[in-house]
């Protein structure tokens, strides 16, 4: 299987003012290396607030301005510059965000899923595609005209997942997709990722939910205080 994403020796730090004008480099991620292949689910497991999300943001080139990124992020063997990231994000690589807060509160769901279009034909084509995928995820036509605050927890999750699949991505980065959901919805969400895997999509699952990680991931990386301590096969965790 081909490698999709290589993250090599990535460090992310912030410049922080301590006393007066003294600056300090606050390292959030240190020397992180991982890789994902087609049809593979890699879980990065770490506690909340440990900076896992920044890894996702670094891949998409949406880190805050005061963040420093060192190291290489390669997609299909090619190192990505900021421009490359802007080019492929939303197309080859897509993000499944944490919560419904990541949707524009004043825009209807289908408009957001489709995104900006240049022409009417493009819009129509995308609209048809969006309807198809939404239907697949059990989201009726009424969802198209809803606003984010009207979605239930499970619906919001399905909307976020289907929004990601609209552009036929090669790689899905899911940032904490399961917290705050009931058992059934968690299961449903994890099944979505399994289906993606079967379709040959690579999934980077960033989570603090060890059960979720054990259930779907092929390999699991343990992330602790800025370091990835070890990446191991799922089997190594269960002892079978």
């Amino acid at each position: 299987m081909d490698k999709l994403l290589d993250v090599e020796n990535v460090s992310i730090s912030f410049i922080q003012y301590t006393q007066g004008l003294n600056q300090r480099d606050l390292k959030v991620i240190t020397d992180l290396t991982l890789d994902i292949s087609e049809g593979e689910i890699l879980a990065v497991l770490g506690s909340s607030g440990s900076g896992k999300s920044l890894l996702a943001h670094a891949i998409f080139g949406i880190l805050p301005e005061n963040a420093n990124l060192n190291g290489k992020i390669k997609y299909k063997g090619k190192e990505l510059s900021q421009q490359d990231k802007e080019e492929i994000r939303g197309k080859d690589i897509v993000l499944v965000p944490q919560s419904v807060n990541f949707l524009d509160p004043l825009m209807k769901i289908s408009d957001q899923a489709i995104g900006h279009t240049e022409s009417d034909e493009e819009k129509k084509a995308k609209k048809t595609k969006q309807r198809e995928i939404f239907e697949h995820y059990n989201l009726g036509p009424e969802v198209d005209d809803m606003y984010p605050f009207q979605l239930s927890g499970g619906m919001a999750r399905r909307v976020l997942v289907s929004t990601a699949l609209l552009s036929d991505p090669k790689l899905v980065v899911a940032d904490e997709p399961t917290p705050g959901l009931d058992e059934k919805t968690v299961q449903e969400t994890l099944n979505h990722f399994k289906h993606m895997k079967e379709d040959g999509i690579g999934v980077l699952l960033i989570t603090h939910d060890i059960h979720a990680a054990l259930e779907v991931a092929d390999r699991i990386g343990i992330f602790y205080s800025g370091y990835v301590i070890e990446i191991a096969l799922k089997e190594d965790f269960t002892g079978t």
Partner: protein, 332 residues
């Protein structure tokens, strides 16, 4: 249907509050004027030349000067309920007619500058927010800080000096050219005289709306949904239009409506300096020349005006935002 019911209930509540507010405004202004050294009889006789003490006594009893304040107030209130605001002493015409005429002139001035400042301020704010921390942003910010800290009358004087006196582009004042009857004033004459006061008044209003819009846009640009839109491949100006302006517009319009009171205060000063015959100037001369009925009338109408602005802002905030609008439908 339910939505309309909610709106009606909301408006009903607002109207009750409005009536309470009006009662307090009337009480307070009446008491203040009664305590002040303003004497309508003196104003009246000032125009008549020599008047005997007997005549003054008759006038005083006619106007009820020496009656207790409660009697005075009840008489006045009873008249107001019949929409009789009395006769203006300086214009020698019914107060309602004077206010109508002056208010129309002022409304044109205030609304045009209100729209102008809203549009320009919003655009500047969006540009400054979009180009945050660049030289453009800094220039706009400096411009706003200067305007924000400069008093209205000073800017008005400055404009008058530069554009009317040195450059001679606009007349220095008055609503009509000297020596022309008001019926004969052409539309262009009138517009020509409106431009400078209008620009002065809007320039003052631009600063607050620009700074507000800039701040709001920067908030939106740091929000999760903006980040996600970026991650989905949207970028640049499109991103600002699709997600930024959509989320900034409503609060900005609300702020602009809340600015009605400042607009009114600004108009008083600007009209005074440009001798523009509007409600602000009428208020100042009514105050300076002891025209009690006119002054009270203006107080009431300006309270109504400002209240309407705030009411529109409230309605916008509560019923236009889909989060609240649709939410209520569902909740029903």
């Amino acid at each position: 249907m339910l939505k309309n019911e909610k709106l009606l209930k909301f408006l009903g509540k607002k109207i009750v509050r409005f009536i309470i507010l009006l009662i307090f405004v009337i009480l307070l202004s009446f008491i203040l004027i009664d305590m002040s050294p303003i004497n309508p009889v003196k104003t009246y006789i000032a125009n008549l030349g020599v008047v005997s003490p007997e005549k003054i006594a008759i006038l005083e009893s006619y106007w009820g000067v020496n009656e207790p304040i409660t009697t005075k107030m009840f008489n006045w209130l009873a008249n107001i309920i019949h929409l009789d605001f009395g006769t203006s002493l300086i214009y020698r015409a019914p107060v309602l007619d004077v206010i109508k005429e002056k208010f129309v002139a002022s409304l044109v001035l205030m609304l045009s500058s209100w729209i102008f400042s809203g549009v320009i301020g919003f655009l500047l704010g969006v540009i400054a927010g979009f180009k945050k921390d660049t030289i453009i942003d800094k220039a706009i910010k400096v411009y706003c800080y200067i305007l924000q800290s400069a008093p209205t009358f000073w800017i008005a004087l400055l404009f008058l000096m530069v554009f009317s006196v040195y450059l001679g582009w606009f007349p220095t004042g008055l609503g009509v050219p000297v020596g022309t009857l008001s019926e004969n004033v052409s539309f262009w004459d009138w517009l020509h005289r409106l431009i400078l006061p209008m620009i002065t008044l809007s320039v003052v209003g631009i600063a607050s709306i620009t700074l507000f819009t800039r701040d709001k846009l920067i908030d939106v640009m740091n929000s999760d949904y903006f980040l996600f839109a970026k991650a989905r491949g949207e970028s640049g100006w499109n991103l600002i239009v699709r997600h930024g302006i959509r989320n900034v517009l409503l609060p900005a319009i609300t702020l602009q409506f809340l600015g009605f009171s400042e607009l009114f205060g600004g108009a008083v000063l600007v009209e005074q300096i440009f001798t523009y015959p509007g409600i602000g100037q009428a208020a100042v001369s009514a105050g300076l020349r002891s025209d009690v009925p006119l002054l009270l009338g203006i107080v009431i109408f300006s309270a109504i005006f400002v209240y309407c602005g705030n009411l529109i802002a409230d309605v916008l905030y509560n019923f236009v935002d889909p989060r609240i609008r649709e939410g209520e439908e569902d909740g029903g």
